[in-house]
Subunit: 197 residues, 2 copies
């Protein structure tokens, strides 16, 4: 692993746990096992290091979403595939959703950068497909954007609010992971149940 990679990985861990404002360059250096000056040598400054980490996190998630949403499947199959693949992916990167949401809230101007990015999550084709399947009588009438929001909510929220959720419904890490494992298929089934004719 190159020095740059060591720094990048360390930065990802620290930024994801503490956020941009809470992260300390010294902590990243310690985590990477190198000197603080190297951070500036490799990435110029804190802002640029952060942007590298954030951009990377975001661009790992977006293709996951688009690959499923732009396939040739039916809406029901897309829901099944999305919940399964997204939860699988996020279980490997549990800090990612909270990190992205937090930094987007703290720096709303950032959002613009990613909305113009080629790899942004783009649900427009799925939205028209939903309209079509409603017209075809496959799905009960529902506002397509509401359905999309439901899918994201059920899938992402447990991870974004992980610590709070574990505390309120009183589950251990193991129980939480087991619940998420179940959700890979169960939430697709529930959403489909609630909208199928």
């Amino acid at each position: 692993m190159t020095t740059e990679e060591k720094i990048f990985n360390a930065a990802r861990m620290v930024f994801q746990k503490k956020g941009f404002a809470g992260a300390r360059m010294q902590e990243i250096a310690d985590e990477a096992g190198i000197n603080k000056a190297m951070l500036h040598y490799c990435f110029k400054n804190k802002q640029l290091l952060f942007e590298a980490v954030f951009m990377n996190a975001f661009s790992q998630l977006a293709p996951q979403v688009n690959e499923v949403f732009n396939s040739q499947d039916t809406v029901f199959d897309k829901i099944r595939k999305f919940t399964h693949s997204y939860i699988s992916f996020v279980m490997e990167h549990p800090y990612l959703p909270a990190f992205i949401i937090q930094e987007m809230n703290n720096n709303p101007e950032f959002v613009m950068t990613f909305l113009n990015h080629e790899n942004r999550p783009n649900p427009s084709s799925l939205l028209s497909q939903i309209e079509k399947e409603i017209a075809d009588g496959i799905i009960n009438p529902i506002q397509p954007k509401q359905l999309l929001l439901d899918i994201f909510s059920m899938t992402v929220f447990p991870f974004a609010a992980q610590i709070l959720v574990k505390g309120i419904i009183q589950v251990s890490d193991e129980e939480f992971n087991q619940m998420m494992e179940e959700r890979k298929t169960s939430i697709a089934q529930q959403i489909i149940n609630s909208i199928k004719k």
Copy 2:
């Protein structure tokens, strides 16, 4: 409005927008229209000012939850009432969910403080009621904690990830608010649809 209240309100705004680490005492003082030294005179230090704000935010939400969850209603009515009252409340305080989730993630040790708090959101009676209604054949079999998580997800997520959501599904502030208005009743209906016999 007393000086202390002016400070508290200013602190709430700044902390909710920037988070603990990103907030600046100077910005809070400016927002309150008073001098920075007064912050320390009234609240001793940044940490204590933050804790006052956070505790207040949390203890505004928890009773909302418990009042509905511990009533004498059926599960279906509890779901209807919760989504309606929670969304109404949060539309008045749109930064609250993201703020709580962010700070809980950044300071996991905080969670313990609130789990022991008398006013913590306590869903245990609702959980046994769900078990009972499943046994009685009113609700289709589902793990009670999963159902609870579904309810929270559908209700809270759109607010917690507000900026991201607006960007991805491409809605204006007005459209977003209108969607949330609809969700007050629609998500209860969908959840109930997906679990009723």
